[in-house]
Amino acid sequence: MTETEQIRSKAKELLDGKKVDCVIGYERATDGKNARPMFAYNAKDADRLIFDQTCRHNLVRYLLNRKDKPTAIVVKACDSRAVNLLINEHQIARDKVVIIGVVCPGLVKTDWNKTGDKLRDACQICQQRTPVVYDVLIGEPKKPEPAADAYPDVAAMEGKSVEEKRAFWEKEFSRCIRCYACRQACPGCYCGECFVDRLDPLWVGIRIAPGENEMWNTIRAYHLGGRCIGCYACELVCPVNIPLSLLNRKLEKEVMRLFKFQPGLDPETPQPLATFQKDEKLGVAE
């Protein structure tokens, strides 16, 4: 059976058996080429579920809208790390979620009404095709791949001078329209009141202007430091193609260097930036 067939079969089994109220997965979008998220509430809905290399959305953020309601969800490897993140942060209950993990072949570079064969940049360097947490696994588990130079463009950025970096980001952020699709698509961004909406004290504010755009994007990246699980849904949804994952991957690299920590591998390990331990190194330059 193909992945699609297996997912449909499992979804129907869970829905008919009333194990869950809803299966969150993917269906075909209106351009006939890409995928879009879909919520299946019964067997008839489940027949529309698909899985292919255009299934780029991280569906885990929808679990935050369905707290306490038994839900099944289709996750790729990166998405599954988000499940662990949310369990670690006490945002979802493990026993209320049935995780349908899919061994991920990688997503293709895709746009509205356009798909292709070339793998997305982040998927080309992905080291983990098998979900790290699941109740059902679809596909043959793959060994994690060796860590080649995972961040060539981060290294390239590091090589630039401060002036070059500043010019680069000024240009990129000048296009930001503050639609907050990045925030809304991210499973780690779930604050009841985002810092950018807060007026008193006023941290950034909602003005759509270069200074505020820079603050918005960089502070959001910092708030995800040590938490970003590397799905880069933010970069995928940005309507003006800002290379947001550069910021996240730089912080990932630093967190790995300092703490040997990758977020989302399991739900128990305390996050280094959210915990303080007695025997902790206090100086960074050690």
């Binding site: 979008a29 879009r36 006023l202 909602i206």
Partner: protein, 331 residues
């Protein structure tokens, strides 16, 4: 016989326009095509169906200072903002011009919004008719069309070696004097074939099926960002807040979207549209029902930008088709 301008003369005219006005036209910005202020006429692209973001930002900026507040001499002085330079927006498509006609309705209606009026009075719209449409275009189903001149001061239609010219308003005539133009016997080019969407009577259907659970189901996948409202040429909800600015305070208006959580939340906590489904329904009810009934023009002009941009494929064409079918089986 129609009026005609050659490509060479057009570029010369645009260069002249640039001298003492802001010239805004479609240009390439990395992989995107956006309306930007142009410094060189060569930067204007010609191979595009439409831009990724709408040109509404030149009449209704994403963020604009309404007035500044200064504490002076024991009192307070308020200084309203003014629009200094004249602007010409070149290369607009008929759908976006129809979008400006729609945007005019709430802003120019009494009491007139003075800042929008200044932008509007000081801006000329020069359009190019559409010979090609993209799959997502559906302007002709929403009250516009690939060669609809509504809203333009000047409208061009591309033919061999140049453009047929229609000068439609006094502003257009002052901008592009007759002496610049020649005559041509070229036929009007065939307008693009545009897909159809069954929008006729969707307002009535929406009203009849207002409480349908359809909206909750649709809202399941909506992530409530602001993208649809921001790429849309006709969305106009805005927020007003005070921001400090070097010893003074600016009262600033910024784009906002009815989709974001907390849009209707009042101090004290009550939020009438806390439910995702009600916010989803509000967008389409405003677009397809309230606005057309209030102002007599469509609030969706069929440009398809929201369809292309929405990260989760909330597709207004699909929604219009679905709404027409709601209640058909009679519940």
């Amino acid at each position: 016989m129609s009026k005609f301008i050659s490509k060479k003369d057009l570029n010369a005219w645009l260069a002249k326009v640039r001298e003492n006005r802001r010239l805004v036209a479609p240009t390439k910005v990395d992989d995107l095509i956006l309306f930007k202020e142009i410094s060189r006429v060569e930067d204007i692209v010609s191979d595009y169906v439409n831009t990724d973001l709408s040109p509404k930002e030149f009449l209704f900026p994403p963020t604009e200072v309404l007035f500044s507040i200064e504490k002076k001499n024991g009192g307070v002085e308020l200084t309203p903002a003014r629009v200094e330079k004249e602007t010409v927006i070149f290369g607009m498509r008929p759908c976006d011009a129809k979008g400006v006609v729609a945007l005019d309705k709430p802003f120019l209606e009494e009491p007139t919004d003075p800042l929008y009026k200044e932008h509007r009075d000081k801006t000329a719209l020069v359009g190019i008719s559409c010979l090609k449409a993209c799959a997502e275009c559906f302007c002709s189903s929403m009250g516009s069309g690939p060669d609809d001149p509504s809203g333009f001061d000047i409208m061009l239609a591309e033919v061999k070696d140049g453009y047929l010219v229609q000068v439609l308003t006094e502003k257009g005539k002052a901008l592009l004097p007759d002496s610049t133009l020649s005559e041509s016997s070229e036929a009007k080019p065939k307008a693009a074939d545009v897909s159809k969407v069954p929008a006729e009577g969707v307002n009535k259907k929406l009203r009849q099926n207002f409480e349908d659970p359809y909206w909750n189901r649709l809202a399941d996948r909506c992530i409530h960002c602001n993208m649809c409202s921001y790429v849309c040429p006709t969305c106009y909800c805005f927020d007003i807040r005070d921001y400090p600015n070097k010893g003074k305070t600016d009262r600033v208006r910024s784009w906002e979207s009815c989709q974001s959580a907390g849009f209707t939340k009042i101090a004290g906590g009550h939020d009438p549209r806390a439910n995702k489904g009600t916010r989803m329904r509000q967008r389409f009810a405003h677009k397809l029902l309230y606005f057309p009934e209030q102002f007599g023009v469509s609030h969706c002009i069929g440009c398809g930008r929201c369809v292309k941009s929405c990260p989760v494929n909330i597709d207004i064409r699909e929604i219009i088709t679905d709404v027409q079918k709601l209640g058909a089986k009679g519940e």
